[in-house]
Symmetry: C2
Subunit: 256 residues, 2 copies
């Protein structure tokens, strides 16, 4: 089994080698750019770790892992648009629309989503693509509530905006690893806690959301409880969970 | 077998009844609006007609037919954005961004694409979703060439921007009707001609593209030749092509 750092390196390498659809023509440049700006690749690492826990080789789960990273990148590219958050920078670089123009920025996000579907559709069964579509719709709904609706329940917004893709990092990997649906329930419960944990720690780092509602210590307590529940859910699955436990532990104490 | 008009009514009815993913919350309103503004529904009619020609019931092909209409609508919603064509009207109604604001317009297009994937993923095999993703990427590439690249070959742009979705209307229906890949070749050749025919007639109606390059009579000749080739390809398939011949004939002489 690979460590989280090794899985991250494998995901990074696979992203670099990813063949984009030739009919994109020049539009491929901005898609490539938005993927290369980087990030922690935490979603594909989770997907690959779930796959390995279930005994599936990295290569078998990689298309699902890359698909979820492309959906995440699509959401950032569209969120950065002037019509949305109007961000000119992303991780210290010009955001995609700032670099290539607003029209190309819209198309780059569209293309990332479509490429994600193409990756998900490499599996014979449509289950991976279905999980991807549902998570994407949930994320879009969360973005709508966050930006267009005043005072909507913060926890619900977070569960959609951030939690849905974390959830799908796990569930897409379950299908990619060909785990029968009847055995997926504890994994899905784990997936819920993982997204929540990530979001609460994000709020602690940004002094936002949970911190504003419950104070830093309160938020920290919520994070610890979510981590504890995630570990408990992992205890219920029939798989080698060593690396996934490490991921939960490091998500709980991360400082960036 | 149903006539094209009957198929259109069935598609319209299914679109009205279409359940959107509940996690979209208020974002569903703009998605619904953009679908209700209407149109000729020519792509789903083609998909359903291909299915019936192969003996597949309408209900079996409907998810694929609706998926292609949703991708078409997604492309219109994003094309209308200020960053793209900046159109405030669509079929005599305010365009989606004009009605709901630019941010919601971006999200509405995103949601339409994701809902299309969810429809395509209702089939057990991922083949329908794969055709959808490839066509969407080709269409995006065509949009890029059309708006960002000066003087790119017009026929190539049209083949991507318009032709790719027509092509997918046929090929997604082939998978939905469970036609083995080995028998799909003449259908795929037919699909190519159908997209070309639609585009040339569009140019004749708009006095654009082919008309500017070849004059009205030249464009009309090209359209007639494309229609003739489409009929010839239909002659090669093992299916009841009566309704599809009617569709080719009416696409060739349409005046709107």
């Amino acid at each position: 089994m690979h460590s989280p750092e090794e899985l991250r390196a494998l995901a990074e390498e696979a992203l670099e080698r990813l063949d984009l659809w030739p009919e994109l023509h020049g539009q491929a440049t901005s898609v490539r750019y938005s993927l290369e700006v980087g990030g922690k690749r935490v979603r594909p690492v989770i997907a690959l770790a779930v796959g390995e826990a279930l005994g599936a080789p990295v290569a078998q789960v990689m298309p699902a892992a890359l698909a979820i990273e492309l959906v995440h990148t699509f959401s950032l590219v569209h969120d950065d648009l002037p019509a949305m958050d109007d961000d000119e920078e992303r991780r210290g670089q010009p955001s995609t629309w700032k670099k290539f123009g607003e029209g190309v920025g819209v198309l780059a996000g569209d293309a990332l989503l479509a490429e994600a579907v193409r990756l998900a559709a490499r599996y014979e069964s449509s289950a991976v693509a279905r999980e991807l579509a549902e998570a994407t719709l949930g994320m879009i709904g969360g973005q709508y509530l966050d930006t267009m609706v005043e005072g909507y329940d913060l926890a619900a917004v977070h569960r959609l905006k951030t939690g849905r893709l974390f959830y799908a990092s796990v569930t897409m990997a379950l299908w990619a690893a060909e785990l029968p649906e009847a055995e997926q329930a504890p994994w899905r419960a784990f997936a819920e806690e993982l997204g929540l944990l990530f979001q609460i720690v994000d709020d602690i780092l940004d002094e936002d959301g949970y911190v504003r509602e419950h104070g830093t210590e309160g938020a920290r307590r919520y994070a610890d409880e979510a981590a504890e529940r995630a570990r408990a859910r992992l205890g219920e699955v029939d798989a080698d969970i060593t690396v996934l436990r490490d991921i939960v532990d490091s998500l709980a104490v991360r400082t960036a």
